[in-house]
């Protein structure tokens, strides 16, 4: 069925599994209850489903796979904003911004089976060894209580699970050590990469392949990339990994996945969670009991759920004896620059990038944050999107498209921000969601080290673009930066129960049967996209839960 407006709202109908006839009652005798069906929750569930009774609760819907092209049409058509593509917004997703920096939360997440991997771009790098020891090596932020070596086998496994096309570290001397090649070969560099490579060679700057959670060849019964060019926010072909892969696998192994079941609070006694109390579309409320609980609801909803679960035993929020729940909210800061050449650059054929530069990453210290650089394959406007806006058509429109498309170049980059206690998620005092629960209140602040590092990234970007012969037309510096939609830090990991929410195994210090699988456990963020680390930690959590059971 075609038409962007023909898509169901994700809350009814479709494939027959999302309507009100679905059984959303609790699963008896559950071993494990997972809250959240994004990549972390899906991987934990898949890890345990064969041998354990697993139930997964997600606040959002089970999207009909047949709607993907229509959702993709929404991404192209100007009538729709980005949150409309996956039905984000409304009272369910209400939130408040109260910080120094505005945070566009509903652009930054998808609620539903698959979570934010439904709209992510799919870049999957490992953190660097120094990222785990920022305090010791760089002199800022805490060290993680685990090292790269602890996570290294899980990184390799996560790369196999997601399906990563990468250069196996062969062409990237700055990548952390690895013991085996990526599961698939890296995507070949783009034509514009070849232009950038010449400029970088002149400047003595390294350029190398980049790991993509996107099939460069058939993998895991999924298609190779067919070049729709709309990876973010919709991959219609299934070449880009999303967490429905592991949700489906977990269900096939016996897990129960309940959609449209927002957990209202976690019932508990002094040292155990006893039930996840969740709402259903029919207005009902249910208690899912289990031996173990894994909260995997992302960097905003995870702390919110803990805060909503306050009690006499935990008056400041569940698992919050440290006071760290919701604090140290971090994202990666975008640094970018772009312009035009006097020759064709062949942009917008695909929606992902194929070359990067990690050369400056490990120069980080107390004053300089780690940062990485990206060479875009989608600089400048897409002709299709241009065609749908404007007052012209016919020959004048074609002339405008020809003038507007063809010779753009651009670079991006991500910069680490430091964890700050005053950058945080709390519960709003005045506003409630569609269930009457206080909405998340975001106070996002950014440190000066991050801002000065953005300037440094801009210097390198502009130098490369000028070497390329580009007329630099825009620079996204400290005044124009924004978040990369990577929510981190709000239930940080620490050996010390007074300093963190979870221990090195991602189990809460306060509750013996409650784990958190999320980027919310990151003590520092590094500057690499977080999802591969989320996946590695989730696999490790799965093992930990299994051993505990």
């Amino acid at each position: 069925m075609s038409g962007a407006e023909s898509v169901g709202d994700g809350r009814s109908g479709g494939d027959g599994t999302t309507g009100d006839d679905v059984d959303r009652t609790p699963v008896p005798n559950a071993d494990v209850c997972v809250v959240g069906a994004g990549p972390a929750g899906a991987l934990v569930a898949d890890r345990l489903a064969a041998d354990r009774e697993v139930v997964v609760l997600d606040a959002g819907p089970r999207f009909d796979p047949d709607d993907r092209l229509a959702r993709r049409e929404r991404a192209i058509r100007p009538a729709y904003d980005r949150p409309d593509v996956w039905d984000v917004g409304g009272e369910r997703d209400a939130h408040e911004n109260a910080g120094e920096w505005f945070y566009p939360l509903n652009h930054a997440r998808v609620k539903g089976i698959g979570g934010s991997t439904l709209h992510w771009q799919g870049m999957v790098m490992r953190l660097h060894e120094d990222d785990f020891n920022s305090g010791t090596v760089r002199g800022v932020g805490p060290d993680w209580p685990i090292d790269y070596a602890d996570l290294r086998p899980y990184y390799a496994e996560a790369e196999r699970e997601l399906g990563v096309a990468g250069g196996s570290g062969v062409d990237n001397p700055h990548a952390p050590p690895r013991e085996e090649p990526h599961p698939m070969p890296a995507f070949e560099p783009s034509y514009s990469d070849s232009l950038f490579a010449e400029a970088c060679e002149e400047l003595g700057i390294d350029i190398h392949s980049v790991p993509n959670a996107r099939n460069s060849e058939p993998y895991d019964d999924r298609s190779p990339c067919v070049g729709y060019g709309t990876c973010q926010p919709v991959c219609p072909s299934g070449a880009k990994y999303d967490a429905t892969v592991h949700v489906d696998r977990a269900e096939a192994a016996g897990a129960t996945v309940i959609d449209r079941a927002p957990v209202q609070y976690l019932d508990h006694d002094a040292d155990r969670v006893t039930a996840a109390v969740y709402a259903t579309p029919d207005g009902g409320e249910h208690r899912q009991e289990a031996d173990a609980f894994v909260v995997a609801a992302g960097g905003v909803e995870t702390p919110r759920l803990l805060l909503l679960s306050e009690s006499e035993a935990y008056p400041d929020g569940l698992a919050n004896s440290s006071g760290a729940v919701g604090r140290f909210f971090m994202d990666h800061l975008f640094a970018g620059a772009g312009g035009t050449l006097d020759e064709p650059t062949r942009q917008n054929h695909v929606g992902f990038y194929t070359s990067a530069c990690d050369e400056f990453y490990d120069d980080a210290d107390e004053e300089r944050a780690p940062f990485k650089l990206e060479f875009f394959n989608y600089a400048g406007p897409s002709p299709v999107e241009m065609a749908l806006s404007g007052d012209d058509w016919g020959d004048p429109l074609l002339e405008r498209l020809r003038d507007g498309y063809g010779n753009h170049v651009a670079m991006g980059g991500l910069v680490e921000q430091l964890p700050r206690a005053d950058s945080r998620i709390t519960l709003d005092d005045d506003r409630v969601d569609d269930r009457g629960n206080p909405v998340p209140r975001i106070e996002w602040t950014v440190d000066d080290r991050a801002l000065s590092t953005i300037e440094r990234a801009n210097e390198v970007q502009v130098a490369i673009l000028e070497e390329l012969g580009a007329e630099v037309e825009w620079v996204a510096g400290p005044d124009a930066t924004g978040p990369a939609y990577h929510h981190m830090g709000t239930t940080r990991m620490s050996d010390d129960p007074a300093e963190g929410v979870v221990d090195p195994d991602c189990r809460t210090h306060d509750l013996e049967n409650c784990w958190i699988a999320s980027s919310s456990v990151f003590p520092t963020s590094g500057a690499m996209n977080p999802t591969l680390t989320i996946a590695a930690l989730a696999l490790r959590v799965g093992d930990g839960v299994d051993a505990w059971l």
Binding site: S2, D67, E73, E188, R346, L388, R402
Partner: protein, 190 residues
């Protein structure tokens, strides 16, 4: 530049419709004759789908395409017809498209005393601008101008510029929305 059957198939793929089922139903109904023969299978059970005659929809869309497509494009008739084979698929979009075409057709009768497809090209363009489709932002739930922009003008522009031939007009043989493979991005300019 000639629009081909491949372009129409690509345009349909770009909007999530294949056209196969709709074409089959329409042809079967054509054979059976009767009042509904000129409507596609999607119309069953939905009175709004019968508001605008199938032939009027197709003729009007072709007539508008001849205005909004650049002059160097050929093969518009067959391209638009095949695109509509899939687009008029019984979805809410198909109903919206018919209604928007119906309003455009009504305006044509009221202002020019003739159906859209019988107007000279200049008057067709005048009609579109008169209804406000040039300056309106597309909106499937908006005013007449916004819906004509959404369902008529922009549907046609999306079909063209998400197709390989439409892309090549601009210099991109694998435009956004077209699954043209993961090789073209590696190639330099021709």
């Amino acid at each position: 530049m000639e629009l081909t059957r491949r372009d129409a198939v690509a345009a349909l793929a770009a909007v999530g419709a294949t056209g196969g089922v709709a074409v089959g139903v329409r042809r079967m109904q054509d054979r059976e004759g009767g009042e509904d023969a000129a409507t596609d299978g999607a119309s069953a059970g939905d009175p709004s789908d019968r508001d605008t005659n199938e032939g009027t929809v197709r003729a009007t869309m072709v007539a508008v395409a001849e205005v909004v497509y650049p002059g160097e494009v050929d093969g518009i008739d067959e391209f638009v017809d095949r695109f509509l084979d899939g687009r008029l698929d019984g979805s809410a979009h198909a109903s919206g498209l018919r209604e928007a075409v119906g309003e455009l057709a009504d305006a044509s009768q009221a202002w020019h005393d003739a159906p859209v497809e019988e107007l000279p090209a200049a008057e067709r363009e005048e009609l579109l601008r008169g209804i406000g489709a040039d300056t309106a932002d597309e909106d499937p739930d908006g005013t007449t101008a916004e819906r004509v922009r959404y369902y008529v003008v922009n549907d046609l522009l999306l079909a063209l510029y998400a197709s390989p031939t439409g892309g090549e007009l601009v210099g991109i043989e694998n435009p956004q929305g077209h699954p043209g493979g993961a090789e073209s991005y590696q190639r330099g300019p021709p």
